[in-house]
Amino acid sequence: MKGLFVSPSPHRAADMSTSKIMLLVIIALFPAAMAGCVFFGPRAAAVLAVCIAACVIFEALCRIVMKKDQTVGDLSAVVTGLLLGMNLPATVPFYVAVIGSFVAIVIVKQLFGGIGQNFANPAIAARIVLMLSFTSQMSGWVKPYWYSGAVDAETSATPLAAEWLSYTENGAAYKMAPFTLSEMFWGETGGCIGETCAAMLILGGLFLIITKVISLATPVAFIGSFAVLTLLYTGSLVDTLYGVLAGGLLIGAFFMATDYATTPLTTKGKVVFGIGCGLVTFIIRSFGSFPEGVSFSILLMNLLTPYIDRLTKASPFGAKKPVKAKS
């Protein structure tokens, strides 16, 4: 019999592909994105749609211009667009969202070679560029349900930027957080579209861990180290919990610090990466002039990833001492 296929072993492959992984991430992000649309209205949905569409179009155009295989089908551009949109306030002008998509896909991702080759997380880098370049457009925070007319004031501060209320009782001074922990958990606070609803972000994160898309190591190390440092610094469990639920910590820890291309390969490396993120976030939030530090911490650790990778290589089973490199 002739006409047989011949290939090296193995002759089986796991039922997994890049596009399937991206689809799982989209599914995991969906509940938090939906919550954002409920809190911040049709305007939020429009921002998400603009970001996704822009990212997909930029990705497709880049591949055409660069004369490379079309990769838009792997859905990674959809993930980037969705993540970027979730990291923007609902009131952001559409042109700013498009510029952000351009930075994410064209500059950060495709100019470095496309999927798997970028050194920084595209959505994080784009968010930082927009924050620094369009500061006022990027801080149009609105209260949940502002669109329904049921709330009086349209503008609101984010949990991290808002003033804490001071009061004295029985001669002792107290400070009260501007939001209750329950509001923080369900996401009824001001903030970016997709970062406020802790409940849905945790749900999505658990989904990714159960489906083995991400490992437990990064979120545990990130959130854990941040929580421990905050607890040591403030001495208050409530303040610690408030800090964990506030801002971009959860979306960052579950969805952005776990990006494959820009984070370390081994579990050891992921732990180092997560602790680094937690530490930098804590320092910026506690001592820096920005209220929020998650994006900066992840970007900084992205830059350190090659070094972390080098220092946390797996040690092969039964290997004798490694061969010294010729210097």
Partner: protein
């Protein structure tokens, strides 16, 4: 429990209840002179010679080799240069069967009195590892007992590859042959402990072997988790004993000898009837098989095309020697059954999935039983960075295929590991 990384595969052991039957005697067989790891044999017969069953037709003075015997009686019609599926070329004897199966007068039970005569007899039996690698058994037995004393015999009955059930059938059909074979090795080599290691997806075999070894203190039955590649030598040694066979070492350096379960049983049968390795049990299965999937005693040298015809798999697009994870593709079904083929598998679909860009997900790193980093090996291979390849210990790769299997981008990582090995100059 000592556990290394691996992957979980669907078992597809549909033939596990198929009792082994004799495969119809082929009219003609092709016997390559290289069916084992090591030097090929010289062909001892020439065109026109008459041969009988069990007659030695190939042998050599080389150390690393095993003699080859005729599985049929009949006439040598030709001695040809033959291209094996592995890519090597060797001599092969084509023998036309006379259908009488006249047994060679040399075939008689060997006289075994001590270690030396035991090892000599095993060499004459032509026995090689029946599990897949085809390592000549007499060389494995002839380790240096002074430098590397062995205290544990690990019997490999993991059978971790999907589809294959030939070792399972060996245990179910002739458990006493297995045990007697083990006792022979223990007796003549002085190995105090034997561990029969079986994956826990074969509870029937575990129960049967436990029952048969109840009164034998020197033999233990170890149930291992069903995780591929549990049956790989370094993996099974670690799982069964916790010992690590380090870089450049043989299991005997760690006081262990690993032997396939069917090899042990065959060893015993040879000491009883003196019939060398001329036929073997193999599993015939795969999704292209339409009828008669099962286990067969097949004469070595039977053309695979006859097996495929028997099981209605003429429409197969991919035919393998061995399992889907480590099996070798046949380029042509006129290839014969070899000593180390524990299965012939036929599949309908032969095309490999399309390769996409690496996304650095790390699945290859997490599944590698030896903690290698295939993603970095691929980069170093593409950069032709030999020093980096050495640092990444690519030479340890045993080509189990977990990395390629797990890769969502379907990159041929296991293949690249083998190519990378070839890039490192030999000392």
């Amino acid at each position: 429990m000592n556990k290394l990384n691996g992957v979980h595969l669907s078992h597809n052991k549909g033939t596990k209840n198929c009792e082994t039957v004799d495969f119809p005697l082929p009219k003609s067989v092709v016997i390559p002179m290289s069916q084992h790891m090591g030097a090929p044999c010289e062909c001892l017969v020439k065109k026109g010679d008459t041969v009988t069953v069990g007659q030695k037709i190939g042998d050599t003075d080389a150390f690393m080799s095993a003699p080859i015997h005729s599985p049929v009686s009949g006439t040598v019609t030709d001695v040809i240069d033959f291209l094996l599926a592995s890519g090597a070329v060797c001599k092969a004897a084509v023998i036309e069967s006379d259908g009488l199966q006249t047994v060679c007068p040399d075939v008689k039970p060997p006289e075994i009195t001590d270690k030396q005569s035991f090892i000599a007899a095993i060499r004459e039996s032509g026995l090689t590892g029946l599990g897949g690698a085809g390592f000549p058994t007499h060389i494995k037995l002839n380790y240096d007992a002074v430098k590397t004393p062995v205290d544990t015999l690990v019997i490999n009955a993991a059978e971790c590859e999907p589809y294959i059930t030939s070792d399972f059938r060996e245990m179910m059909e002739s458990p006493m042959d297995v045990i007697e074979g083990i006792l022979l090795v223990q007796k003549y080599l002085g190995i105090p402990i034997c561990k029969i290691c079986i994956e826990d997806n074969k509870p029937e075999a575990i129960a049967l072997m436990k029952k048969k070894t109840e009164n034998l203190k020197s033999i233990q039955i170890v149930a291992l988790p069903s995780s591929y590649p549990q049956g790989a030598e370094k993996v099974i040694v670690y799982s069964a004993t916790g010992r690590i066979v380090a870089e450049g070492e043989l299991p005997s350096n760690q006081g262990v000898m690993v032997m396939n379960v069917s090899t042990a049983a065959h060893m015993y049968r040879y000491t009883q009837d003196g019939m060398p390795l001329t036929k073997r049990r193999l599993t015939l299965d795969g999704d292209a098989v339409t009828k008669n999937a099962g286990n067969y005693f097949v004469p070595i040298g039977t053309r695979v095309s006859e097996l495929l015809e028997h099981c209605g798999a003429e429409g197969a697009k991919k035919v393998l020697y061995g399992g889907p994870m480590m099996g070798i593709c046949l380029y042509d079904t006129d290839q014969p059954v070899l000593k180390n083929n524990n299965a012939i598998l036929a599949f309908k679909d032969g095309e490999s999935p399309k390769t996409t860009a690496c996304i650095r997900c790390g699945r290859c790193v997490r599944t590698c039983p030896l903690n290698l980093m295939p993603v970095l090996i691929e980069n170093a291979y593409n950069a032709e960075d030999v020093e980096e390849l050495k640092r990444l210990k690519v030479m340890l790769c045993m080509n189990c295929g977990c990395c390629s299997y797990a890769c969502p981008a379907h990159r041929p990582l296991a293949e690249i590991n083998q190519l990378a090995k070839a890039m490192i100059p030999r000392k």
